[in-house]
Symmetry: C2
Subunit: 333 residues, 2 copies
DNA sequence: ATGAAAGCGCTAACAA
DNA sequence: TTGTTAGCGCTTTCAT
């Protein structure tokens, strides 16, 4: 593979001049620059990234470590990050931690070793996994979930408030015994959604009971089982707040099995807008999170922190929007 | 940030010994090795990736360039690739070419510059974008779509045959005028699905007409418009074959707008199984592509090619499975 | 404006 | 088994 020395030799200049020409430095004779560019083209020269990064002590690469590539919420974030990063010449590498602290730690190590310019991550939970990043002062932004001590820039969605609003919406539409299916204890979004749900019930002096709440991993199968379990009781709920879209699939599947109709028999509001939410019968009411905007905001914060490492950490909270559809239109009978 | 020299100094050995110890080479005194490891831990030593890669002339990283991160088919492939790669110590970086030849070229350049060990990609179309890869002999596997000249390992799904089978299935269930909504001309999967559809009609001596076929980008909005357009004719189809799941959303949305019921009024079979296919009413018949297995196979092929660059290129074709549900149960009346 | 030369951190060939 | 040393390809002083 051609190196910069080959290019320099062919153009009849030193490697220093070749480097300057290739990097568009102004201090180089136009005629020489042209010779260099021609030589580079003829040799199909591609700079050696590791060599450049070694010398520069930094790569124009951002690492984005997300907890689930198959979750549309996170892929939308990825799009937002990419679009902002590409505008200013950064590449983005996507790493899938799979809600697994071990994989997360591994990818953080890779990011450090590759000396990426910065890291955006949705922390799996334990704030200790990011210590290596903090210790080295690697610019970092957390999304979706905060670290306990807020030592980094953070971009969040007002998820507690949205859960409260969604629960109030269910009550306003006549549902009386509202349940909640949320993610694992310790996962901040799961806890917040539950807290918002409880606040709304308390404010309305509605019955609230641990028997109406189920916690499970953020996946379809767990949510389906949780829903069946809720309805295996003497007094099942007449509505549920569901904490993400994969879970919503499980909940709707469970209702189908039980022969119950969303909306009329059991009110449903789920977090995350999806392409299919409007297609099911009745259409699914959702809390639409501004995922793409979260990604954009995170990327901008990260870039600004790369510029200025000393700036104090900030927390950005974006609002979510309740989209009311048939699945929360009100009970029948 | 601590370097290997710092570690060596602290352990009282040379950098060479430190390097050997850190890399688990057997030819190092256990006691010295222990001293090195301790020093490394105390200094929070993390190897400098660019330096190592520069020296080794290769990085234990695979690049996976897919055409749409938001398409579940491709994210499943990504999971398959990751699982295989991680087993043998490779990292995977995901790049989103967004069905855009320009972005694809850009990511290919990045992959070359970073000297990744190999590349897996779903080529956007023009086979010329991969020339730089071929020219440098970078190990490469293409997935989902072949290059015109099959100069690389390729993993495909038997998509033409599946389209034929799905179309035959629609005919067998009593649909008479079957339409097809597929992707852009020149995109191999789109062309194959159309060809399979046509073969099935021809074999059954069914009416076939250009007026029953629409081509559009592989997205929801285009498919919705195409479907509305199909039904804006004197003799609309009574069934459609749809080329991916995003398009299926658009098609089902169009039917809803038209007040037509899938299955009873218009038969529908779409490519790609999704979590929600069984949830809509009636459930959606699909051609389930083995995406995860495609990813696994591609990763294995790539790793074997990294081992042996000279092996002749192979083509692997995996079968897809038709899952018949209510949306193709047969017309009513 | 250009070139010579140093050096980023690491690994591997070679010597001892 | 260990250390010395060269050098991967690039950018960037420092001289000129």
């Amino acid at each position: 593979m051609a190196t910069i020395s080959d290019v320099a030799r062919m153009a009849g200049v030193s490697t220093a001049t070749a480097s300057r020409a290739l990097n568009g430095k102004s201090t180089v004779d136009p005629e020489l620059a042209a010779r260099v560019m021609t030589a580079a083209r003829q040799l199909s020269y591609q700079p050696n990234g590791p060599a450049r990064n070694l010398r520069r002590q930094e790569a124009a690469v951002l690492a984005l470590i997300i907890s689930d590539v198959e979750n549309p919420f996170f892929t939308s974030i990825a799009r937002g990050v990419e679009d902002v990063a590409h505008e200013v010449g950064y590449s983005v590498v996507l790493c899938n931690s799979d809600e697994n602290a071990e994989k997360e730690r591994r990818y953080i190590d890779v990011a450090i070793q590759e000396r990426v310019a910065g890291v955006i991550l949705s922390p799996t939970g334990e704030s200790t996994t990011v210590d290596p990043l903090l210790a080295r002062g690697t610019p970092m932004v957390t999304v979706d979930r905060p670290l306990t001590d807020r030592t980094s820039d953070t971009v969040l969605v007002a998820t507690l408030e949205s859960a409260r609003e969604a629960t109030a919406h269910l009550m306003a539409h006549g549902y009386r015994r509202i349940g909640c299916i949320t993610g694992p204890s310790g996962v901040r979004t799961a806890d917040d959604r539950l807290a918002g749900y409880r606040e709304a019930l308390r404010a309305a002096k509605h019955p609230s009971s641990a028997r109406l709440v189920r916690r499970t991993e953020y996946r379809e199968a767990g949510a389906r089982r949780a829903m069946l379990d809720l309805f295996d009781q003497a007094e099942p709920p007449d509505a549920v707040l569901v904490a993400n879209s994969a879970m919503a699939v499980g909940v709707l599947a469970a209702l189908k099995e039980l022969g119950l109709r969303p909306g009329a028999d059991v009110g449903v509001v789920a977090f995350d807008e999806t392409p299919w939410a409007a297609l099911v019968d009745p259409p699914l009411s959702v809390v639409a999170q501004p995922a793409y905007e979260v990604g954009q905001a995170a990327a901008r914060l990260l870039l600004s922190r790369i510029e200025d490492t000393d700036r104090a950490p900030t927390t950005t909270v974006l609002g979510a929007r309740l989209i009311a559809r048939g699945s929360s239109a009100g009970p029948v009978g």
